[in-house]
Symmetry: C2
Subunit: 258 residues, 2 copies
């Protein structure tokens, strides 16, 4: 009847090529959690991206003329702007310090989700000058599927896996956790047409269940470090099923705020 | 170390004038939950509004010429549109079926948060024709404060109280729970300037903690009925403190999407 979210302590720092599924299984074992049918594992994008080698050294990036222009008006590093443009379908809004884009994965976010904090190649720990940034996973749904398969094979349980990031909001302050990769967990719960208490048909009736869970898990990951980038969830109140990030994306023709 | 969200079963149908704090205390007792310092009670807007008598019979509403015009272009009931306008500072976007406004409380939402489902005066249960709608509470921060005080006096514990609603999002499908009234729970956690793992300064560092909790609790309330409009939360990971909805509202001059 309760929803319980438990951050897994002691996930090691993840590097390119690390076996993330195995690291999660070991952390579950240390936390003495046995995976059961219906459990969900929520994973911060950052460690998925690192395991998949999505770190880029800014020194290796050659900004295009378009990036140089946009860097001027937004007062951002032209090499970072070049990466933002490469990772985006469309630039929606800009102002000094801010570039809001439609990411190639289809969602709207700042800086194409490229992260500058907690990002450093291990060999650079003493060279504070080296500037690495981290791109989102190439295909987060596929990443979630792979990890889910690995966790299911090891545990024998039917699971959901959710990869999340933190996004700002158009009209509210503060970031909230948001889904970017789904495997086995419904994005949207469609209650349309179900009767309410008084036999009226429900009106507001598509629930962004995966994003609600993403926000919940994000709350338990904190933001200050990457010490707890994996959260175990028990009691997700809906049946698990196949799904995809696409469920959660508003089609462009329904967008009033582009 | 875990966050646990427990929906309280058997909250009775709430009517104008009901003592909501008492109803919550009785439901906690039935669920055998003893309130402890740091616990948070999350309450669906709907039962707060009902207790505060925010039901309006559409037959009592006289639409203005402005409402009649907007009702034509949006294909909505002119009486409902009149109430939406009265509850709003500004209309941002419209299309058939949809009116997006800045609510008088300062947030952006559809239909000024006015709800049509699960709304009926008890005496009208057999008259399906009667059309009641429910406005948001007059001052949700104040409502949260009153309920918090009542729960704290009864329990002796230091608590947070959060009143939530479900909002759609500009670019994503599905509604998510969102804070509209805060008492004793931080809206935003400000991590700006804290060092990350590698002693860089954090960049994305204002966390919308109350909205993350609102989404988590909303997941456990469901939408199909109002059977579980109150959720008990244990393990909120930040210190409780005074706060207000205003913490979470992006100032108009920082809004790129108006």
């Amino acid at each position: 009847m309760s929803l319980t979210l438990t951050p897994l302590p002691d996930i090691p720092l993840i590097q390119q090529g690390d076996d993330l599924g195995k690291a999660i299984l070991m952390a579950l074992e240390r936390a003495e959690i046995t995976l059961l049918d219906g459990d969900v594992i929520v994973i911060a994008q950052k460690i998925v991206s690192k395991a998949e080698g999505r770190l880029v050294n800014l020194d290796d990036v050659e900004p295009s003329p378009e990036a140089l222009n946009l860097a001027l008006s937004t007062e951002k590093d032209p090499r970072l702007v070049e990466l933002i443009l490469r990772e985006s379908k469309q630039v929606l809004r800009t102002r000094p310090g801010t570039i809001i884009v439609e990411h190639r994965l289809g969602f709207i976010c700042a800086s194409a989700g490229i992260d500058h904090s907690n990002v450093q190649e291990p060999s650079d720990r003493l060279q504070k000058g080296a500037e690495w940034v981290l791109l989102l996973p190439e295909d987060p749904d596929a990443s979630a599927c792979r990890i889910r398969q690995q966790l299911q094979e090891a545990s024998g349980a039917q699971l959901g896996v959710l990869i999340i990031d933190s996004h700002g909001r158009a009209w509210r302050l503060g970031t909230v956790g948001i889904s970017i990769g789904l495997a086995g967990i419904p994005g949207i719960i469609d209650l349309r047409g179900q009767p309410d208490l008084f036999d009226f048909k429900l009106q507001i009736t598509e629930v962004g269940a995966a994003d609600e869970l993403a926000a919940a898990a994000s709350l338990m990951m904190g933001q200050a470090a990457e010490g707890t980038p994996v959260v175990h969830v028990r009691g997700f109140p809906y049946a698990l099923r196949n799904s995809s990030l696409k469920e959660l994306l508003r089609p462009r023709e329904m967008d009033l705020f582009r």
